[in-house]
């Protein structure tokens, strides 16, 4: 242990602790901007300056490790003056346009300006003109609001290993940029939105679809249906005054009805459907490989629900596209069914059906826009995608008190779901849901885990793996008897990269891999409330598993409306109709 003196009080902290963390232990909050708990320390913004006795210069608390006898002052006159100067400097290079900014009210720079009472801005406005890049369907980049903290760049490099964003040039010309300044829509960006989630200001925000959704809702001719992704119900509350981890499914459904949606459906329904299709695809691949020794069949199979992951693979590892399940994501299965099966069931003209989805994700906006995601006519199956943040904004605009809303249930047909659907929102959830179904299909028995909870696939480790021994197969699956099913789960694209490199090098070998682009899976998605950090992710994760436990049905194949869908419309998994509506192909980029 190291003894230090923090603001006059002696304390002991572990060796290697940074001053920022030590101060937090002592109950002192030091302001930060470039620091983010998920990322490596940069020490760039210089907002977290503290005074250390014996040192001429102030020190960045985020970067400085404690040392024996260190005497630290976090609130001296020198510290306050320097911090205020730093904030003023940042404001002078930031296009201060708070009233019109998407981050107004949730901007770290704005908060600091308020805290330090930066009232009269003495410094010269460095005259940044608005420079909006709206080339990406998911993310908007406005350099004139950038404060060069590089959180986005570190996110893109450290967590996602993409480096679509980089720091370019130096001095006063230094800026966050893409390759040769190309538009964000034309570079290797996965659209995951993790940069948006970590931007302290409004320099990176999602492309908003709020206006389009309002005008659809306002048009009486249109039949507007909405689907809500599994992870939204456990995070929407954070935007509307609730603590992280609040399960707000019922209130959210009520809110959506009040906003004017004609039907409120659940992406969990098509998550269940995905499991049936993807589970059978896995079994078919296993059969082709293990029984028929088909050389054209590729294993391991990768999940394909995460559009950030899919685009990442298309860019970085096009040679592995065959590994991707051909299943569309639950969002897109929903869109396809809403405009076909549902439209005929509800007796509405598919042309008048507008599908809106509420997603924890910015990449879903890109996915909905993909040309191959059009089952009926020229319009996309999913017309508009809103992030969790955008839905919360619409609810705020409507003025009703979210906390006091009654809890209502989803509409049936495309709104019926099981616990297996809801756990899609957490890393490992797709794998767990798939195992609950596939194991039972093969053996006729439930997965051998207490309460169906397959704990080895859960958690936050970057790469998790498990072996599921298959015993007591039903006769038609006898070729799987005694097979050890090797599975892996990963989240965050840097981890996915590691995993693929391991497979390429022959170090790792699996049958089935779940990949989610965002750390924590969808619950940590780029469209989720800001801030998102590890504590908040864990709260959301706990809420998702709690939601699963509360569901009467917890296996996808037990979903009665999914069963009905097959009986009345699809006929069989991987059948003709499925191929037409629920499966897709990928493009090397």
């Amino acid at each position: 242990m190291i003894r230090i003196i923090m603001n006059g009080s002696p304390m002991e902290v572990e060796e290697g602790t940074r001053v920022l963390a030590a101060a937090q232990d002592a109950g002192v909050r030091i302001p930060t901007l470039c620091y983010h708990k998920d990322l490596c320390v940069a020490g760039n913004c210089r907002v977290c300056l503290v005074e250390v006795e014996g040192q001429r210069a102030l020190q960045a608390a985020c970067a400085l490790p404690v040392s024996e006898g260190m005497t630290i002052r976090t609130n001296s006159a020198a510290v306050r003056a320097a911090r205020k100067h730093v904030i003023e400097l940042l404001l002078s290079e930031h296009r201060v346009d708070c009233l019109k900014c998407a981050r107004n009210g949730n901007c770290e720079l704005q908060n600091l300006a308020e805290e330090y009472r930066v009232e009269e801005r003495e410094f010269i406005d460095l005259g940044l003109e608005r420079s909006l890049d709206r080339s990406s369907p998911s993310i908007e980049k406005d350099d004139s609001k950038c404060i060069r903290c590089q959180r986005c760049v570190r996110t893109c490099t450290e967590l996602q290993r993409i480096s679509a964003l980089t720091v370019a040039h130096k001095g006063s010309k230094m800026r966050v940029d893409t390759f040769f300044g190309n538009p964000l829509g034309d570079v290797v960006c996965s659209n995951c939105g993790q940069c948006v989630s970590r931007c302290p200001t409004g320099a990176l925000v999602e492309r908003s679809s709020i206006d389009s959704v309002w005008s659809a809702l306002d048009n009486p001719k249109l039949h507007v249906v909405v689907q809500t992704a599994p992870a939204v119900r456990v995070s929407i509350g954070e935007e509307l005054g609730c603590e992280p981890g609040k399960r707000a499914t019922g209130q959210m459904v009520t809110a959506l009805r009040r906003l004017g949606f004609d039907k409120v459906f659940d992406t969990d329904f098509t998550a269940d459907l995905t499991i049936i299709e993807e589970g059978h695809e896995l079994l078919r691949r296993l059969k082709a490989k293990l029984l028929d020794h088909d050389e054209n069949t590729v294993l391991p199979m990768f999940t394909s629900c995460s559009p950030g992951w899919v685009k990442f693979l298309e860019h970085q590892f096009p040679e592995h596209l065959e590994n991707l399940s051909t299943c569309k994501s639950p969002q897109q299965m929903f869109g396809a069914l809403a405009k076909t099966w549902y439209a005929s069931q509800a007796q509405v003209d598919p042309e008048n059906v507008v599908v809106v989805s509420i997603m924890p994700c910015t990449a879903k906006k890109f996915e909905a826009d993909r040309p191959e995601m059009r089952s009926v006519g020229a319009r996309p199956d999913v017309d508009h995608v809103l992030t969790t943040r955008e839905l919360a904004r619409m609810i705020r605009q409507s003025g009703f008190d979210f906390g006091k809303l009654e809890e209502q249930a989803y509409d049936t047909l495309l709104g019926t779901s099981t616990g297996a659907g809801v756990i899609f929102g957490a890393t490992g959830g797709v794998m767990e849901a798939a195992l609950r179904t596939a194991y039972e299909v093969v053996t006729g028995r439930p997965v051998p885990f207490r309460n169906l909870e397959i704990l080895p696939v859960r958690g936050m480790e970057g790469i998790r793996e498990a072996v599921i021994p298959i015993e007591g197969c039903l006769p038609e699956w006898s070729f799987l008897e005694g097979v050890d099913l090797r599975i892996a789960i990963t989240h965050g694209l840097a981890n996915a990269w590691e995993l693929i490199e391991g497979i390429k090098a022959g170090r790792l070998s699996y049958h089935f891999i779940e990949v989610m682009a965002c750390p924590g899976g969808c619950l940590g998605g780029g469209g989720q409330p800001i801030p998102t950090d590890m504590e908040i992710r864990l709260e959301r994760m706990a809420a998702i598993y709690e939601e699963d436990r509360q569901m009467p049905l917890r296996k996808s194949h037990e979903n009665p409306d999914v069963q009905r869908l097959y009986e009345e419309f699809l006929k069989e998994p991987l059948g003709e109709k499925s191929h037409e509506l629920l499966h897709t192909h990928y493009t090397a980029r």
């Binding site: 913004c45 210089r46 020198a78 410094f123 720091v167 130096k170």
Partner: protein
């Protein structure tokens, strides 16, 4: 004094030092060092009182000792030949004339610290030296082989970035990154190039190390003052009768310096380049050139009364605005504000009080920037703005 008299006096004063540009038998020197052994080499350098000649002035012996104490599979010696400080050109001349002694200094550091890999980081502006340096290094490698010294030197080029003279930025650049200074600690002697203990020494420092082993610590220590021991190579330019490179004792007063080099009308001297201090005429007598007074990495630029100090400051600020790495707020934005600020005052867009605001900002930059570059922008700004207020304001 006439220019001729000045030259005569200068010869005398240079004669007291004569180390950097003296020919020595490097093979004999290295043999001597080998027989001295690691500990004695470090002790000699420590007791000589040598401090880094690049500008920061860290005691060289202590740096070597810290690196020597590290246990690591690899260690590096880096010769910092990224001489970019405006007004400094002595390292170029040393590399032109005494490259073999630079290599010898690096080998001494290797002996002292256990390093086996040496790198000369040569600024892009000096690329024309590459061929001759490569030849010298080849020759030196033969010598090392003869002496059975397991050490190897390679040259790596910079690509035009002043900030790479900062040792951690230099290391980042060697690793193939943008030359952005690192957070310290850890210092390079603990975790430097590729995370291994690394000594970064200036060209001149390394040659002095060689001369200390050649002539003994005492020969070095007796020169200069208590706090600024030894000689120093000065780069003299500007409004001077005599310009060029001169090796003189540290600790002389600026007044006698101006007597020697000035054109009789010196109104200010910029000591230490753009990151140094501007000393006005009235302070020449009280200013000591050395670590106890006004330190310099060697740059001495003289200004006579025909010069506008506004334009000089403006030129410095343009330099910093461009050469800041841009990563930290105080330096990136502060440099722009100082530059735009004096322009606005000059144009009358801001009133005279705004200079006070800028001075406060400069003080903040000096304590809040991440590296020495940003911290030292305040030196020319404050010293010029305070001493030549009228020229800035009107």
């Amino acid at each position: 004094m006439t220019t001729k008299e000045k030259w005569t006096r200068l010869q005398q004063q240079q004669g007291r030092v004569r180390m950097i540009f003296e020919e020595v038998d490097c093979a004999a020197l290295l043999r001597k060092a080998i027989s001295l052994g690691q500990e004695s080499i470090i002790e000699w350098i420590e007791s000589s009182g040598l401090r880094g000649r690049g500008g920061a002035g860290f005691p060289t012996g202590r740096k070597w000792r810290l690196a020597a104490a590290q246990k690591a599979d690899r260690k590096f010696v880096i010769c910092n030949a990224d001489e970019g400080e405006p007004g400094t050109f002595k390292d170029r001349r040393i590399l032109e004339e005494q490259a073999i002694k630079v290599c010898t200094g690096m080998a001494l550091c290797a002996l002292a610290t256990g390093a086996r890999e040496g790198i000369i980081y040569l600024r892009a502006e000096y690329s024309y030296l590459l061929t001759s340096l490569e030849e010298t290094i080849q020759e030196f490698h033969l010598l090392l082989k003869k002496l059975d010294l397991p050490f190897d030197i390679v040259i790596r080029s910079g690509s035009g970035a002043y900030v790479c003279g900062e040792e951690t930025a230099l290391i980042e650049s060697l690793e193939g990154r943008r030359g952005e200074p690192r957070n310290k600690p850890p210092f390079p002697v603990e975790k430097g190039l590729h995370g291994f203990p690394t000594v970064v020494n200036n060209v001149e420092t390394l040659v002095y190390c060689a001369m200390i082993i050649e002539r003994g610590a005492e020969a070095f220590r007796r020169l200069g003052t208590k706090d600024s021991q030894g000689g120093k190579v000065f780069s003299v330019s500007g409004d001077a009768d005599i310009e060029g490179i001169f090796e003189l004792e540290l600790g002389m007063s600026l007044a006698s310096f101006v007597d020697l080099f000035g054109d009789g009308d010196t109104k200010a001297v910029q000591v230490g380049g753009s990151s140094g201090h501007c000393v006005p005429r009235k302070k020449f007598d009280e200013t000591v050139i050395g670590f106890e007074g006004t330190p310099t990495g060697g740059s001495m630029m003289l200004f006579n009364s025909s010069r506008s100090m506004y334009h000089i400051l403006h030129n410095y600020l343009e330099f910093f605005e461009e050469e800041s790495c841009g990563q930290c707020t105080p330096c990136r934005v502060g440099c722009q504000q100082l530059l735009r600020g004096i322009e606005a005052i000059k144009k009358g867009e801001k009133d005279a009080h705004y200079l006070q605001e800028l001075l406060r900002l400069a003080r903040t930059m000096s304590v809040s920037s991440k590296c020495g570059l940003g911290q030292s922008v305040a030196n020319p700004f404050i010293s010029i703005a305070q001493n030549f207020r009228e020229e800035i304001l009107y």
